[in-house]
Amino acid sequence: MALSRLSSRSNTFLKPAITAFPSSIRRHVSTDSSPITIETAVPFTSHLCESPSRSVETSSEEILAFFRDMARMRRMEIAADSLYKAKLIRGFCHLYDGQEALAVGMEAAITKKDAIITSYRDHCTFIGRGGKLVDAFSELMGRKTGCSHGKGGSMHFYKKDASFYGGHGIVGAQIPLGCGLAFAQKYNKDEAVTFALYGDGAANQGQLFEALNISALWDLPAILVCENNHYGMGTATWRSAKSPAYFKRGDYVPGLKVDGMDALAVKQACKFAKEHALKNGPIILEMDTYRYHGHSMSDPGSTYRTRDEISGVRQVRDPIERVRKLLLTHDIATEKELKDMEKEIRKEVDDAVAQAKESPIPDASELFTNMYVKDCGVESFGADRKELKVTLP
């Protein structure tokens, strides 16, 4: 008893010294890029191909960047939630919180030359591709400075210079587009790949299998990524798919099932997939992930699943918590530093929201801009009544 009291007293005596000691000799962690190897918690399951190794090469810089990016995305989605409830964002708003590991993990494995195309749950993918927070919020609020000049909305974020092709409202329609992007990359001999993301709901669309057939036939560098968050709006996967093993659905196309809440596993899988696609043609990646919000802001998200399930996943599998634990156990950062980082990010997001709120709404003349591209000049007034005359170049 006395011994323990002694030891505990000595511990309290020593503790400040221990915490003070490492921070004074430890340099700022973000410049540390020495390699660390981390094992993924869940093994990969593969279909018609070899699984990549479970040991992921990374660095403390990278893991910290994961944390920062994911925290930013999470804050952005939460801010979008409150903006929607304040009626500043209208229409449909599909939030990505819970699935951030996918966006950051993928970015870590690829370059800006590789193309990404996704569905309507595109806010975080846009940010991952280098989009600015203020552009995203302006677009959500329908302002002129938004990434699509206010004409697209939540479901139509695009960033051409970063090869981010959107942002599509119709479920599954982006998959043939993605295979078309892969075709163009093969045509132009770009040595780049296309990631076409879709959800478990879209996995039952016919056009997926049509596009997969063509991609496999023509050896296109297309990687089809199924973001399996287990619910297609209100329908669980066991109610919508006879075979919920989405990575096997490609039949003759190899597939890989990945723990989508683990950013490092996602990175490993995407790297593996890119190498595979450049050599052997298409591959399907199934990312096992989860969304905390409902399908969209109009969906409470609790009529088809229990609150316990949601909080359970949040406690056990949350991607940001996982990275935080990694950072703490590997001594890359302290609790306090991470909390400060989160505070900084919160401020960054709030500033972006404030700036976006100030931006102007598009003027009426914008209604007819970007309908057609005027190249050879038009001198007729027809169905597009506003265009009376356009002069020759």
Partner: protein
């Protein structure tokens, strides 16, 4: 800085700059004022000057580009003699020239490659350009149209062929939501320079599903342009213009017109995508038509001329947007309009055109606009019933007589 002659309707300033730069060109445009465009002549003669036009289009050969609306009436004997060919060969020639000119142009469709195309429009192209540029797709219209659009987002210029326009209904989501809308919803970031083409219309007893007249379904899609070709001359010209255009263009061909023969110029030329063609100038009544109905109208016109009427026949060619300038000038002259089309009666091109003319030129009309369209029925198989589905010359003659009373 040179510029294209924009039909003969180009401002006279453009013509004068053109003339001042190159004195060797034989230019014989009509000098009528812009309000009445009834005659146009072929601008002839090629020379060695290089022209630069538009933002990204460059003529690689040292040939002059001749956009022209009217095929014939060569008053100038110094015009170089053309060559005679069938309409599908004209389409093929246009396609081949564009593929030679720009390596980004590719063709995708069912049986376009090794088979040569079900209507021989792409014959020989696979041997010349290889399998990556002339792509045989499996039968999945939705997917390969989507792929064409996705490829176009990166800068390729696919020409997507629907074996029959009716099959493109399967790709309607891609055409409407992605092809038409991406330029707008991305705030101008992406252009979709695709050409979607294929034969449509009522053929020879092909059955209901293969004889669809679908221009009406596509006309409301914002962001696309629609053109319909009717002669080998405008088929080649429109094909080339459509490929060069930065906008998505749907080119409607007609199954029964593929074997029309005509002499077309040897030079490089395009037809303006938004312009209508004056087929036969006249005084009494304006007949607006397109595609196969043009020939029924011309046949009726012979009868009408014998009966003493003087119809003005305009092939509208551009189904979206309408060339209301040409049409308007004609209405102002004749004050009577008859629309003859093969499209469906309900919600068809004729219906839209009637509305447009009434809205814009109501004061100039002496009689209500009459529209003869095909019947709102699925095309029957029996020959006689099929004949009654579409507009026949006799009906056109009756309608003109009725309007001109």
């Amino acid at each position: 800085m040179s510029s294209i002659i924009h039909g003969a309707g180009a401002a006279t300033t453009t013509l004068s700059t053109f003339n001042s730069i190159d004195s060797k060109i034989l230019v014989a445009p009509s000098r009528t004022n812009l309000s009445v465009r009834s005659q146009r002549y072929i601008v002839a003669g090629s020379d060695a000057s290089k022209k630069k036009f538009g933002s990204g289009l460059r003529v690689r050969h040292s040939q002059k580009l001749i956009p022209n609306a009217v095929a014939t009436k060569e008053a100038d004997t110094s015009v170089s003699t053309g060559h005679e060919l069938l309409l599908f060969e004209a389409l093929q020639e246009g396609l081949e020239e564009e593929m030679d000119r720009d390596p980004h142009v590719c063709v995708m469709g069912e049986d376009v490659g090794h088979y040569g195309g079900s209507y021989k429009v792409t014959k020989g192209l696979a041997d010349k350009f290889g399998d990556l540029r002339v792509l045989d797709t499996p039968i999945c219209e939705n997917a390969f149209t989507g792929m064409g659009i996705g490829a176009a987002m990166t800068g390729l210029r696919p020409v997507i062929e629907g074996m029959n326009m009716g099959f493109l209904l399967l790709a309607f989501n891609q055409i409407s939501n992605n092809c038409g809308m991406l330029h707008y919803t991305s705030g101008g970031q992406f252009t979709i320079p695709v050409v979607i083409r294929g034969p449509g219309g009522v053929g020879r007893q092909l059955g209901a599903e293969h004889s669809q007249r679908l221009e009406s379904y596509f006309q409301s899609i914002p962001g696309i342009q629609m053109v319909a070709c009717s002669t080998p001359y405008n088929a080649k010209g429109l094909m080339k213009a459509a490929i060069r255009s930065e906008n998505p263009v749907i080119l409607f061909e007609h199954v029964l017109l593929y074997n029309l023969k005509e002499k077309i110029p040897d030079e490089d030329y395009i037809c303006n995508l938004e312009e209508a063609e004056m087929v036969r100038p006249g005084e009494h009544i304006t007949i607006l038509t397109y595609s196969r109905m043009r020939y029924h109208v011309m046949q009726a016109a012979k009868t009408l001329v014998n009966k003493g009427y003087d119809p003005e026949v305009i092939d509208i060619r551009s189904l979206k947007p309408f060339d209301l300038h040409t049409i308007g000038n004609s209405v102002k002259k004749t004050h009577r309009v008859l629309i003859v089309e093969e499209c469906m009666r309900t919600g068809g091109i004729g219906a839209s055109l009637t509305a447009a003319i009434n809205e814009n030129f109501h004061d100039y009309l002496d009689a209500p606009v009459m529209c003869l369209s095909s019947q709102d029925v699925p095309t029957p198989y029996a020959g006689t019933l099929e004949e009654w589905t579409v507009v026949q010359p006799a009906q056109i003659v009756t309608a003109v007589e009725q309007l001109c009373q």
